[in-house]
């Protein structure tokens, strides 16, 4: 039989200590969120669910965040792969560039973006002539969110791809598969948890983005803009229920993302 002290020692689990520390952070996230959610009368929240302005904003937010997450993934993954698999100082330098959009306050990001895609710029007016105005449009929403959120995909995926043994890619290629196929079928699935983390972060950030969006596209309104408008016109009581709707929307999407994107290794 084990002696009691041995049992206690066995039970004193370091994993629980990590959870304890982590719980502090979790509480820091949860308490304000719960305060927000609990304080709103469910009726008020449900009423917002049918308000056309809120429905429109939800649509814009989902479309915009979806589009920018797609853009971020489509362009960010190749970039991440290149950064991870190229030797030398250049990738380190470029990684720093990727992080810079995060450093700018979103409003400033919005303003500098306007200097590039604004209606009076070459790009902006060309696009507008082609019928795709880059500001005050869904395209503008997506552009603003892409600028702010896509670095997460790049930086997180880069780290994840670096963690995949290059030899597995070699093995796939030695079986006659082109590098692209090897990456698609071996490297990316193995880096998937990290890539998914990046995509999740980017999507969430895009959903919550306000500063840059309001510069590029006040209209169509995203949820954060709608919350802000409601707040400035009618106050907190009007704004917070919409925030709860936003949180609900995000949770639903994140759960779908987690489920569709299950780690293939598990």
């Amino acid at each position: 039989m084990e002696s009691p002290t041995e049992r206690v020692a066995g039970r004193f689990d370091w994993l629980s200590v990590t959870l304890l520390l982590g719980a502090v952070l979790l509480c820091y996230y949860l308490v304000p969120l719960l305060a927000l959610v609990v304080a709103q009368p469910p009726g008020a929240v449900f009423a917002r669910l049918t308000a056309p302005a809120v429905i429109g904003a939800a649509r814009t937010s989902l479309l915009g965040a979806g589009a920018s997450t797609l853009l971020a993934t489509a362009f960010g993954l190749p970039l991440a792969y290149w950064l991870a698999r190229t030797d030398g100082r250049l990738p380190t330098l470029l990684t720093a560039v990727v992080v810079l959009p995060l450093v700018l306050p979103p409003v400033v990001s919005g303003m500098v973006l306007l200097t590039v895609v604004g209606p009076n710029t070459v790009v902006g007016s060309a696009a507008a002539t082609a019928g795709v105005p880059l500001t005050r449009s869904l395209a503008g929403v997506a552009l603003a969110q892409t600028f702010v959120a896509s670095p997460f995909v790049v930086v997180t995926s880069k780290a994840a791809i670096e963690g995949v043994d290059r030899r597995l890619e070699h093995a796939a290629r030695s079986l006659g598969k082109r590098r692209f196929t090897a990456v698609r079928r071996v490297t990316l699935p193995l880096a998937w948890p990290g890539i998914l983390a990046g995509i999740t972060l980017a999507f969430a950030r895009a959903m919550g983005e306000f500063g840059a969006t309001i510069m590029l596209a006040y209209y169509p309104r995203t949820m954060p803009v709608q919350i802000w408008v409601s707040f400035t016109t009618l106050g907190l009581d009007e704004a917070f229920p919409i925030a709860v709707v936003l949180v609900g929307l995000a949770v639903a999407t994140l759960v779908v993302l987690e489920t569709l994107g299950t780690n293939p290794l598990e």
Partner: protein
């Protein structure tokens, strides 16, 4: 199909591989060599996973060096398998789009049917190795590079697979480079054997030649000729010569003229040991004292200090063949048939005993 390797070199910090020149036709080249002698480096340089510093590799005249891995069509089985951890054994094997029937057939052949639907993390060491082998074969490569593909298998399974591979290689008619540290596997599978030492090929030839006519003490020792003794040849003409080892004299049969200083090589199995008082046997006889007896299952390894010399001879003795107990301190008579002695000129060859120590 011919695999040609010319002037291949690769330097790591503290290790230099090559230059190596080899040519492998539709045959199996077994590569033997100590741990760290560059066997995996050699295969990697052919497959493209190691970038050589110099040299050319070509397959049927088509140059491989400088080409991307995927265009080389060189199927490599990595030493540690390098299985895709996120795919089941079946998906690993059918990675290149192999038909289900072929996968089943390979699985049957390599006895891994039960393991097919598990991921590498849930496979045993030997199962993993066999999946790696099957995966490479399923890709129908133009040449095969196998890095110790049977090292994690138990003896009976390894023997069965070795025989499977033997038939397979014969049927495929591709250049096969088979790295192994199993002398038997090299002998059975190799049409030729190359012995690597410190990144260079020390000797290449058919198994019989490598085993029985090594060109250097290193090759001799490495391929199981544990007895490599310095000897002098007082009178070296004709097919039969007398060798002096210390104070003792043995008779040896030689094919060419030999210089006065030689290495006398005898495989332990060719050394007969009998109790000193038993009848004289065939061949030259030496006397000595048993210093150690090691039970190796079917054989006993007997170490005999030869009287009149400071050398020890290793004999591999089978139970019941010579009869009688052999305990340490017993005085014995050691007989070596003249044909069992292989003579290597002791001129510029280094001893090689630094690399391969004796018991």
């Amino acid at each position: 199909m011919t695999l040609d390797v010319t002037g291949l070199r690769k330097s790591y910090d503290g290790f230099d591989f090559g230059p190596v020149d080899l040519s492998v036709g539709g045959e199996t080249l077994a590569v033997l060599g100590p741990s760290g002698s560059g066997k995996s480096t050699f295969l990697g340089a052919i497959a493209g996973t190691v970038t050589p510093d110099a040299g050319r590799v070509s397959l049927d005249g088509r140059p491989l060096t400088g080409r991307p891995i995927e265009e080389r069509r060189a199927g490599i089985v990595f030493q540690d398998g390098a299985l895709f951890p996120h795919l089941t054994a079946r998906q690993n094997i059918s990675f290149t789009g192999t038909t289900d029937e072929r996968v089943e057939e390979l699985a049957e052949r390599f006895e891994i049917r039960d393991a097919l639907d598990r991921r590498p993390g849930a496979l045993s060491g030997g199962e993993r190795q066999r999946v790696a082998l099957a995966r490479t074969l399923a890709a129908d490569p133009d040449c095969l590079l196998l890095d110790e593909p049977l090292s994690s298998l138990d003896a009976p399974t390894a023997r069965r697979l070795r025989d499977e591979l033997h038939d397979l290689f014969a049927a495929l008619d591709l250049p096969v480079v088979y790295v192994t540290h199993d002398r038997r596997a090299a002998t059975v599978l190799g049409d030729r054997i190359a012995v690597l030492r410190d990144g260079r090929v020390e000797q290449v030839g058919p198994p019989d030649e490598i085993l029985h006519r090594p060109q250097s003490p290193f090759v001799a020792r490495f391929t199981g000729t544990d007895n490599v003794l310095p000897a002098t040849v007082p009178d070296g003409d004709g097919a039969s010569v007398e060798l002096r080892i210390g104070d003792a004299t043995v008779e040896a049969r030689v094919e060419e003229d030999v210089p006065p200083d030689v290495w006398a090589c005898v495989r332990p199995v060719r050394v007969g040991v009998s109790l000193a008082d038993s009848a004289t046997e065939n061949g030259t006889a030496l006397r000595g004292t048993v210093s150690r007896v090691l039970n190796e299952g079917d054989d006993r390894r007997v170490l005999v200090s030869i009287s009149g010399t400071d050398h020890t001879l290793v004999a591999s003795v089978r139970d019941g063949v010579d009869g009688g107990p052999l305990a340490p301190e017993t005085t014995v008579r050691v007989s070596i048939p003249p044909a069992a002695i292989h003579v290597i000129p002791n001129t510029n060859c280094p001893d090689g005993s630094d690399d391969v120590l004796e018991d």
